[in-house]
């Protein structure tokens, strides 16, 4: 549902069915709502068959990359004799995204069930749930739910009393965006700085503690019990656009809309319906200027790009951006694009782990140039310098944080150049104290 609002008739409510329903939080409440039946059904299957169902459903990673989930699971070695790990990535920190938080707050047992099914499929006897440190409420709710799951024989020596062993451990982050990147997360979990690792080796070969690991996003794992319960065909059938994108997706809508919140849509729903119908459109008298559709790391769309755009992995790419994590940041005509792009780059400069030169220097330099422009001291050559920097920051580093900082700069200059020019020519008064 469009939490905190009642569900819109255009939503396809699956994961968000119990958002706002406090009764769904407890073990008893979850069981009453049909919980843990999917885990029971999965345990009656061979682990490989569970993976096959998820493969056939077309489920793709909801954290941002959109990699096919079943395929990822199938990369885990068979009969390696090594311990396997499942890591649930609950480090939700992509600006614009706040969906995993609601999944954990309202349906913690749904996530535990999804983790348990995934762990069974990949042969993991241990699952770490890495939750960002600032999420104090989801941390407390998840910790309570995990304790309940142990007390009721779901987790522990035998899954649901019959299956293999599964330990589940909640691990609290401590404030670092980059720990949402799966290899940075693994380093953080090991008690290190959260610097991303060079791939290969991929996590399935050598992940956390050097052992085979699968890292899945909260929303991805929360979808798994529904797929087991209702079948791959049902999930694959939830598709209004491209058949490569199936199922439902939670969109977090924020910024200049009248009803910000989470909306769950069938893949292929028009972006305009989400912004103007469900989220209530702009405040009165305002018009749409720009949208960042997939969390802050994807290119900015202008109002023209939004027209006719279908929300699925392929549809958003066709319009020059990416679906990412589904964090939809809406900006109306009152927005100072140069300032907001500057604000975004400040985020990335702050969050750079400083491991790669292009990122450490590039993000900080980008901020300095934009401060100069906003301070009324920009030079004519600054836009070319920004684009040159962005070019050097794209595809040259261990992870994509640097690329993510470059994306709004490049798309921002391409689509809103006149706003930059207004600062450069002095037509617009400085927005920041001169640096």
């Amino acid at each position: 549902m469009g939490y905190p609002y009642p569900p819109d008739e255009k939503e396809t409510v699956v994961l968000s069915q119990y958002f706002g329903d406090e009764g769904a939080r407890s073990y008893q409440g979850w069981v009453k709502r049909g919980g843990y039946q999917a885990l029971e059904a999965a345990l009656a299957m061979e682990p490989g068959a569970v993976t096959d169902v998820v493969k056939a459903s077309g489920l793709r990673g909801r954290g941002g990359a959109g990699f096919p989930t079943g395929l990822k699971w199938s990369f885990m070695p068979k009969d390696s004799g090594k311990d396997h790990y499942l890591v649930c990535n609950a480090d939700e920190s992509e600006p614009g995204t706040f969906k995993d938080r609601e999944i954990m707050r309202w349906t913690p047992h749904g996530l535990i069930e999804g983790c348990a099914i995934a762990a069974y499929a990949i042969g993991a006897e241990c699952c770490y749930v890495y939750i960002r440190g600032e999420f104090t409420e989801p941390l407390a709710i998840m910790a309570k739910a995990v304790a309940e799951a142990y007390a009721n024989g779901v987790l522990g020596e035998k899954l649901l009393g019959t299956g293999p062993r599964l330990e589940m451990i909640i691990h609290r982050g401590a404030g670092a965006y980059i720990c949402g990147e799966e290899t940075g997360l693994m380093n953080s979990l090991e008690g290190r700085r959260g610097n991303p690792r060079i791939k290969p080796p991929f996590p399935a070969q050598a992940g956390v503690f050097g052992l085979p690991t699968t890292v899945n996003n909260v929303e991805t794992l929360a979808a798994v019990p529904h797929i087991i319960n209702r079948g791959a065909d049902w999930y694959q059938g939830i598709c209004l656009g491209n058949e490569k994108s199936t199922g439902t997706k939670l969109y977090s809508v924020c910024g200049h809309v009248q009803k910000p919140g989470n909306y769950e849509l069938a893949m292929g729903t028009p972006l305009e319906e989400l912004i103007f119908d469900m989220a209530g459109g702009m405040p009165p008298g305002r018009t749409l200027k720009a949208v960042i559709p997939g969390g802050s790391s994807v290119p900015i769309m202008d109002a023209e790009d939004v027209k006719g755009c279908l929300l699925d992995y392929e549809g958003v790419v066709e319009r020059g951006s990416m679906l990412g994590s589904g964090g939809v940041i809406v900006m109306d005509d009152s927005t100072d694009m140069v300032y907001q792009i500057y604000r975004l780059t400040r985020f990335y400069a702050h969050e750079s782990c400083a491991q790669c030169t292009q990122c450490r220097e590039g993000t900080a330099w980008t901020v300095k140039i934009l401060e100069r422009i906003l301070g009324g001291h920009g030079k004519e050559s600054d836009l070319d310098l920004l684009l040159d920097l962005a070019d050097n920051m794209t595809g040259t580093t261990i992870c994509v944080l640097s690329d993510s900082c470059a994306a709004p700069v490049v798309s921002g200059i391409a689509k809103f150049r006149s706003e930059f020019d207004a600062y450069l020519s002095g037509a617009r008064p400085p927005a920041l104290a001169a640096h």
Partner: protein, 170 residues
Amino acid sequence: MSTAGASASETSYQPVFTGETMAALETLFERYPTKQACMLPALWMVQEARGWISERAMAEVAEVIGVTPAYVKGVVTFYTMYHTHPVGRNVIQVCTTTPCSLCGAEAVLRTILQETGCEELGRTSTDGRFTVQEVECLGACGFATPILVNDDFIESVTPERVAGLLEGYK
């Protein structure tokens, strides 16, 4: 760390990891394949007990985890939520990243700095009651502006709400 530079409180350092706290850490050790994986939890325990993580405390964590003090310092300074200096009785984190900025987060931050008497980011108010930090995305963008006061996550804060909210924190 030179002894000469140590503050009075550090020369009379009382270890954190004794009794129940040490027992809690030892229970955690059993849940991970390496001791080092308990680094972040151990640092949280220190901050819980002392309010911040001093260099002497980092050395203690190094000892119980089995790494060097320099390594622990490298980890502590990587994460924004660990305090490496003493802070006020209440720490306020204010999100001003793009989605919140669009909805007026800078005005919320200014009001909080004024109302707490902190005036500047990172500085503790003279009565020791508050420290205010500007933070990047708190992950509640649809409920702008979110702030975190100690462990209380508060949504939809506006400049008008600030004074009333702060009353609850002495």
